[in-house]
Amino acid sequence: MNLLSLFNRKISAPAARERLQILLAHERVHLGGQSDLVTKLREEILAVVARHVNIDPEKVNVTMERGDNVSTLEVDIEIPLDAKKKAA
């Protein structure tokens, strides 16, 4: 390392902070301790909705976001146009 690169060296902590924030936002949804809960919620919500409309189980997205004070549960279900008919 020469003297010039020593002066030009950028500080690294902001990069650590940013990488962690992005990574953890993702991991909290996919691996967090609440993943069991999300799986359960997904199944039960799916069952209730499927009683009234035909839905594609693949087109259901349930995510949970953990925040400081509140967590939000997001349920995203795609309902096809011809789904009005009641499931048997």
Partner: protein, 271 residues
């Protein structure tokens, strides 16, 4: 009734055992009966850090399997008479710990102690989940470093889902203990700052333990750092963390943070 604390981190080598010994000794020095339990079956080390490695006869697994009574396995510290160690087994495998066995041991200890500190093994396997199972409060030991912060976040998720408190719908009390902190490197921008870690993990701060040669020195001697050089920076930081655990409200100072002459004259920095 005892307060049960788990000292945990996910990542290995961040200072769980050092912190358990230091906090346990500091709490016991307040005159309150304290037991530190090693949950790291197969890789026990709390006995060594406490300087009691040659006094281990029976261990936690012996008690659970009925080969020894609990008082036979408890080792009383030679320096602080209210401090006890319950060592882990070095020879058995980790499956020797059963959920029922741990529950029985914890129930008995709760009747006789003011503080029960559970030193968790690294990882998220059985030993770690059993160590946190009965806790009221968790001390999450974290280094200001990306992999440690990530693993701490994972452990926070487990504390909120796999513990008895969580299963009963209660809120687990979680505290961050930031260890190996170097204020100079943080100020230079080459180490995550206290506020960065707090913002990412969003749990309250129990204390900041500075990077210090005193920590290695104390473990070389088999003395909890709070009993070694009581005036050293890490000893003071651990003593204050122990007082906060006991419910005192103390401002958290950042150890080793350099202040300019002006700042010294006019108090804390203005910005």
């Amino acid at each position: 009734m005892a307060k049960v604390i788990v000292v945990t981190s996910g990542k290995g080598g961040v200072g769980k055992t050092t912190s358990t010994a230091a906090l346990g000794a500091a709490l016991a020095q307040r005159g309150e009966k304290t037991v530190v339990i090693d949950f790291d079956v197969g890789l026990r080390n709390l006995d060594l850090v406490m300087g009691a490695e040659r006094r281990v006869v029976y261990d936690l697994v012996n008690v659970i399997q009925g080969d020894a009574k609990l008082p036979q396995a408890l080792i009383r510290d030679k320096r602080v008479e209210t401090l006890f160690l319950l060592p882990a087994s070095q020879t058995r495998d980790k499956d020797a710990l059963t959920e029922e066995g741990i529950a029985t041991v914890m129930e008995t200890l709760k009747k006789h102690f003011d503080w029960i500190l559970c030193d968790s093994p690294a990882g998220i396997e059985r030993g770690a989940t059993l160590a946190m199972r009965h806790a009221d409060t968790a001390v999450i030991v974290t280094n200001p470093e990306v992999s440690s912060v990530r693993d701490s976040d994972r452990i926070i998720g487990l504390l909120d889902s796999k513990t008895l408190k969580a299963e009963n719908g209660e809120r687990m009390d979680k505290h961050l203990l930031l260890t190996r902190y170097d204020a100079t490197r943080a100020a230079r921008g080459d180490m995550l700052k206290v506020d960065d870690v707090l913002e990412i993990l969003s749990i309250p701060l129990l204390g900041i333990i500075p990077e210090s040669s005193e920590v290695l020195r104390a473990s070389n001697l088999g003395t909890p750092v709070t009993l070694a050089d009581k005036a050293s920076a890490p000893a003071i930081a651990y003593q204050q963390a122990a007082r906060r655990l006991a419910g005192e409200t103390l401002p958290v100072a950042i150890p080793g943070e350099r202040r300019s002459l002006l700042e010294k004259m006019f108090g804390r920095r203005a910005a």
